[in-house]
């Protein structure tokens, strides 16, 4: 079954280039959108398997669009493809539920591979993102137990190896684990980050009394 992809980017040259590259490699590009708001409108109609999402866009940025799309289509997976690597934005999109992150200068083959892995339910999780996520959990720890989920010692270990550029295969060898187990650890880390985000939002809502009418 071919993977249904939606490409969201405000630069027309990129949008069309990425769509063409993916199409030529046998993926089914079902829609494109030029900003986050348009993406959130179009996505429910075309129900893509994977959304390839830029971060800095007018109207609604990548993080906002990710949250909006996943709200309606929980089974769709979002792969962030960003040029600027603006760290706050990357982390924001991942916290909002994005399943992976790739720098725009990645080769076409890397992009296709990343889209296919994302569709297969894997987390496309490079060293830069691993460093950000690791730092984010450390910050939470420093600020003294925000009540959200914490990483296990093994998860931290795996995350550090990813941040040092090691492949899952190599990490598995080093730790004497199966490749599958390493993948699971990585995905758990992402899930915990997204869960922590939800815990934080809920706490914020309670503190602000926004839940008063529920």
């Amino acid at each position: 079954m071919t993977v249904r992809v939606m490409v969201v980017d405000d630069h027309p040259m990129w949008r069309e280039g990425v769509a063409r590259d993916l199409g030529e490699r046998g993926l089914d590009v079902v829609a494109t959108a030029g900003d986050g708001a348009a993406a959130a409108r179009i996505a429910p109609a075309v129900r893509p398997d994977v959304v390839v999402m830029d971060l800095q866009m007018p109207h609604l940025d990548g993080a906002g669009a990710t949250a909006a799309i996943l709200e309606v289509l929980p089974d769709t997976r979002v792969l962030v493809l960003s040029a600027s690597a603006e760290q706050g934005d990357v982390l924001g999109a991942v916290r909002a539920g994005a399943a992976g992150y790739l720098v725009k200068s990645a080769q076409v083959s890397e992009l296709v591979d990343a889209v296919e892995r994302t569709a297969a339910g894997q987390a496309v999780f490079g060293p830069e993102l691993a460093g950000l996520v690791l730092g984010e959990f450390r910050r939470r720890e420093r600020e003294g137990g925000t009540g959200g989920p914490e990483l296990t010692a093994r998860e931290t270990e795996v995350l550090r190896f990813v941040a040092k550029g090691m492949t899952a295969r190599r990490i598995a060898d080093r730790l004497g684990l199966s490749h599958r187990t390493v993948e699971n650890h990585v995905q758990n880390v992402l899930r915990k980050l997204q869960l922590a985000n939800r815990v934080e939002l809920t706490r914020y809502a309670i503190e602000q009394g926004l839940d008063a009418d529920t």
Partner: protein, 395 residues
């Protein structure tokens, strides 16, 4: 007490702009208070005149002065609330003095001599307070002097009543003048802070937009590289893309400052590492003293150069920066052939101290530890762990 004068540090244009609209808005509460005082004082004067009008030498003139006072109250109230030119307060004071001294012709000299009230009563304080709001403390004191002088000129008696009036006027004038100066200053500071922030935000937005566009093109060149057939151009574009991306992501570095000036280690690493290195950093800046940052960068450069020398410049190079409560950790890893076990010990035994001990020694000087993990075919990894704050005297 003195209030620091900011006029020397603030550009004139910005002060001017702040002084037109926003200062009036900042002083509006004082003007409102003044208007309320004036109206109440006018009612008191009316009661006073109505009670005494039968005793006046020229009752009709007394009524006329009262009507003029009422009209003037109306005019100044509207004008002050609308932010009229502050020179109006000087006209206000002159007219008030005239109204006060008109008592001389309106009232019976015998009554005045016996200590009877002037026709303006407490209403005359309004003009003094207006000067205080408009001009501040010193002009307010001047206005008090003028006002008290007019009272003395009218009543020709330096009695307890006059001194008491003078004291009350002085206290009120200085207090309101002080409030006015303080409110004006804070309004100006707020205005300046808003302007600075807006300028910075605009600059950021511009920088992001421009850089974003340039990055897109550089990334496109890099991505289309194989089809372009000019490897030199593609390599140059790739390097520029990485360094521009690092610059935007982390901002400027400022490594040239004094040893104790904080430096973002993430930004410094981004600038120091070759473009092919993949750099992983935490989301927030990792600030350490500049001296420590420089020493660490030198060690990281040595480790990276060593990787180049032994594994070649085509091998992967990864650098991870971690920020823990008391320590920072920098890991430098390559995926080259690695070092066979025993080689290092062998080299040390033969008296070749080499790179490894140099790195260990430099990190130890910083009060930290350097751990080497390597195996044949498994690359070389350095883990440098140093305390954030250097111990006193450790150099």
């Amino acid at each position: 007490m003195s209030i620091p004068d900011t006029s020397g540090t603030v550009p004139v244009a910005r002060r001017r702009r702040g002084a037109t609209v926003d200062v009036h808005a900042a002083l509006l509460p004082l003007w409102r208070g003044l208007v309320v005082f004036r109206v109440v004082a006018l009612l008191y004067a009316v009661v006073n005149v109505v009670r005494d009008v039968g005793l006046y030498a020229r009752p009709a003139l007394g009524i006329a002065v009262l009507v003029l006072m009422a009209l003037w109250t109306l005019v100044t109230s509207v004008a002050y609330l609308r932010g009229a030119d502050r020179r109006l307060t000087v006209v206000d004071l002159v007219l008030t003095v005239l109204a006060t001294t008109s008592t001389l012709v309106v009232d019976d000299p015998a009554r005045i001599g016996a200590g009877g009230p002037v026709i303006t009563t407490v209403w005359s304080a309004g003009a003094v307070l207006a000067i205080a709001v408009a001009y501040g403390i010193r002009p307010a004191i001047g206005a008090v002097a003028v006002s008290v002088g007019a009272l003395w000129f009218t009543r020709r008696a330096l009695d307890a009543a006059l001194l008491s009036d003078a004291q009350l006027l002085l206290v009120a004038g200085v207090a309101v003048g002080f409030a006015s100066v303080a409110m004006r200053r804070s309004a100006q500071r707020l205005q300046e802070a808003i302007a600075t922030e807006a300028a910075a935000a605009e600059r950021d937005r511009l920088a992001r937009d421009i850089h974003d566009g340039v990055l897109q093109i550089l990334a496109l060149v890099r991505r289309r590289g194989p089809q372009l057939g000019d490897p030199e151009l593609v390599r140059a574009a790739a390097e520029q893309e990485v360094s521009l991306r690092r610059l935007i992501t982390r901002g400027p570095i400022g490594l040239d400052g004094p040893d104790d000036e904080p430096v973002d280690l993430g930004a410094a690493l981004g600038a120091a590492l070759p473009a092919r290195a993949v750099l992983a950093v935490p989301p927030d800046p990792v600030c350490v003293p500049g001296g420590l940052a420089r020493s660490l960068l030198a060690v990281v450069r040595e480790a990276a150069a060593n990787a180049d020398a032994h594994a070649g410049e085509d091998t992967g190079l990864w650098v991870l920066l971690e920020d823990e409560a008391d320590t920072v950790t920098i890991s430098v890893r390559d995926d080259g052939p690695g070092i066979p076990s025993g080689r290092l010990a062998e080299a040390a035994d033969q008296g070749h101290l080499g790179v490894a001990s140099s790195i260990r020694g430099r990190v130890a000087e910083l009060g930290g530890t350097a751990e080497l993990v390597t195996a044949p075919g498994d690359g070389v990894e350095w883990e440098l762990r140093v305390p954030r704050q250097q111990r006193e005297g450790a150099r």
